[in-house]
């Protein structure tokens, strides 16, 4: 177990910089998830921690020791690859024992460790099989087993579930989380799937184009996204965005379409006229009841029934910006209907119109 520190870590390939200075302190035993769209540099960052990629600038430390110039094998980490990278010519047992043999452990100790890991991962029956004789989920478990027998300081995962079908992915996700809880080993986990990120992480790093846009606990990131990018990336379906500007009295946002959405307080009085983007999550828009003034008349164009809830896609006044609303699955709405919607002040997110940075707290 160990903490992992990243200090202004940068990476360039030739002249092209792909990681632009990332700072992050991963605590001992923490499950840290790196999440972001394809090509944002998650794998590159993880591979730098593993020692598989050179660190162009900055410093990476594991358990207090700077590892910039330390070989992967001496970093005391274990990695689970997207394609599992099991040795195809070795049995499951040998796959797990390989690293232990190299480390010169005694036969008895290797046996004990492999059997223990096999017990945890329910692989006892499969120890003599070759990887090609296993299903995707079983291979995934063997890859996990190979990581845990080593009892490393840090687990590194690079999209380990992306080759599995949806159901198995959910099941393995739970298993990984339980396993990490039980072992208490620090873990860094890369994924582009925000649901996986939210469910697994103690904290997550939301990355975009080589920059850490926000680092925080899942609910914190969900409740207070630091930027337009994070707001749009975390949460499904994505947050609704509406362009507008701060009203003259600073107590509301005047939308391009003419609607006026009240803010919680008058803190923005000094920035009257400022261009902003207003964000509100689909699940936070409420149908207009008695007493609240409706902000939008939403003409429903498409109804997606998911069972537990229903997603309504529509346009403001039938011609303006598109909005998505999440309502209870029991609600009976048809396309073509018009819905009066209200955006409660407490559920509003305000972002700078130019920089995309969060303005509201």
């Amino acid at each position: 177990m160990a903490e992992v520190g990243l200090k202004n870590v940068k990476k360039s390939y030739g002249g092209m910089q792909v990681i632009h200075g990332i700072d992050c302190a991963i605590k001992d035993g923490e499950f840290m998830v790196l999440v972001g769209p394809s090509g944002c540099g998650k794998s590159t960052l993880l591979r730098m921690i593993a020692g598989l990629e050179e660190i162009s600038a900055g410093e990476i430390s594991i358990d207090g020791r700077v590892v910039n110039d330390v070989e992967p094998k001496d970093r005391d980490i274990a990695m689970v690859f997207q394609n599992y990278a099991l040795y195809p010519h070795m049995s499951v047992y040998d796959n797990m024992a390989y690293g232990l043999r190299i480390r010169g452990l005694s036969k008895a100790e290797i046996d004990e460790r492999v059997n223990k890991a096999a017990g945890i991962l329910q692989l006892q029956e499969l120890l003599q099989r070759k990887p090609r004789q296993l299903s995707g989920g079983q291979r995934q478990r063997v890859a996990m087993g190979r990581a845990i027998v080593r009892d490393p300081k840090v687990f590194l995962f690079d999209e380990p579930l992306s080759n599995l079908d949806a159901k198995l992915r959910v099941q393995m996700r739970v298993e990984i989380k339980q396993l990490q809880n039980r072992l208490g080993t620090t873990a860094v986990y890369v994924t582009h799937d925000q649901v996986e990120a939210m469910t697994l992480a103690d904290r997550l790093v939301v990355m975009n184009a080589g920059v850490a846009e926000q680092i925080g606990a899942p609910l914190e990131v969900y409740a207070k996204p630091a930027s337009l990018f994070v707001a749009g990336f975390i949460g499904s379906p994505a947050m609704n965005f509406l362009a507008g500007k701060i009203s003259g009295d600073g107590r509301a946002v005047e939308l391009a379409g003419g609607a006026r959405v009240a803010l919680a307080d008058g803190r923005f009085a000094s920035s009257a006229g400022r261009k902003v983007t207003l964000g509100v999550r689909p699940e936070h828009l409420v149908q207009d009841g008695a007493g609240t003034a409706a902000h939008f008349q939403l003409a429903i164009e498409l109804v997606e029934t998911l069972g537990a809830d229903t997603l309504l896609h529509g346009r403001i006044d039938g011609k303006g910006d598109g909005l998505i609303v999440r309502v209870d699955g029991a609600t009976m709405v048809k396309s073509g209907q018009t819905l009066a919607l209200h955006a409660p002040p407490g559920a509003l997110h305000l972002f700078d119109g130019e920089t995309g940075k969060r303005l509201s707290d």
Binding site: A50, G51, L52, E71, P72, K73, I77, A78, M79, F81, Q82, N83, A85, Y87, P88, H89, Y98, G99, I102, R103, K130, R132, R146, R150
Partner: protein, 292 residues
């Protein structure tokens, strides 16, 4: 698997007919001729032919020069196979380090480099030619009495080098393709598991290359058995004193030059069975050993 049927009953046979015809004309017919010939003894003028069952074979197995040819072939093929496979593997590993993961485009760039040596192979013969060759002169100036025309060992070394050189590029391409198909993450996993580069090679890379290596071994042995006839004929004529007379060269020597058609045919039949055996072993092995 989906089965595709032919509506016309005759069509499938027509489609394979050319292949069958070619195989029949160029393999089955000469092969059966060889078997038939090997049971016959002709007198020197070709006037009388006698059917003698296995007498040709019996004579052959008692013939010390046949035994000599067998030993020469074993030495020659072991040396050529070991050298050409070893050198090709070494080169392929080095090349793979430079181009791994850089896509098929860069790999294609390797081809001319890989094929050129085969074309240049014949150069070796000039370089080592005793009276004119540059390398021969160099060797002599270093005090080595280089003379493949008289010294059997020198002759053997010369044909080994020439035969090896021609084969390296072929082996290289197969090894390189094999190395390229090994996922990079496998090597990385082994590195994280703590394996040194050497250990990674012998415990991960080499076992995964072994089907390729075995395939090449068989191909190379077949090559050495048969295709080196041209080299030996051009360079040493099997000499000096039969030091480079391989089995296939002896077939030619005894049949064409010695006029012993029956004995020569018997030798061909034996060679044919060796190749069939090698090929059969290879198919069995490859079926068993494919990893993915």
């Amino acid at each position: 698997m989906r089965k595709v049927g032919f509506n016309n009953k005759l069509l499938p046979y027509l489609l394979i007919a050319p292949q069958i015809a070619i195989t029949a004309i160029f393999f089955y017919w000469p092969a059966s001729q060889a078997v038939w010939q090997s049971f016959l003894i002709q007198d020197a003028f070709g006037t009388r032919t006698e059917f003698v069952w296995f007498e040709n074979y019996e004579v052959l197995f008692k013939d010390p020069t046949y035994f000599n040819a067998f030993i020469v072939t074993v030495v020659f093929s072991t040396a050529v196979a070991a050298l050409s496979l070893g050198i090709a593997l070494l080169l392929a590993v080095q090349a793979d380090k430079q181009i791994h993961g850089s896509g098929p485009y860069k790999t294609l760039l390797m081809w001319p480099y890989a094929v050129a040596p085969a074309v240049a192979g014949v150069l070796w013969l000039f370089l080592f030619q005793p009276s004119l060759g540059v390398l021969a002169k160099l060797l002599r100036s270093m005090g080595v009495d280089w003379n493949p025309l008289l010294n059997g060992n020198h002759a053997m070394i010369l044909v080994i080098i020439a035969a090896t050189w021609k084969q390296i590029s072929y082996n290289f391409l197969f090894f390189l393709a094999g190395l390229q198909s090994i996922p990079k993450s496998l090597i990385e996993a082994a590195a994280i598991d703590g394996a040194s580069p050497m250990r990674r090679f012998w415990t991960v890379i080499f076992p995964l290359l072994s089907p390729t290596a075995f395939f090449l071994l068989v191909v190379n042995v077949v090559y050495v058995f048969f295709d080196t006839f041209g080299i030996i004929d051009a360079v040493t004529h099997g000499g000096p004193a039969k030091a480079t007379e391989t089995l296939v060269f002896k077939v030619f020597q005894d049949g064409r030059l010695g006029g012993d058609l029956g004995g020569s045919a018997a030798q061909s039949v034996i060679l044919m069975f060796m190749v069939i055996a090698l090929t059969a072993i290879q198919f069995k092995y490859i079926e068993r050993k494919v990893h993915y």
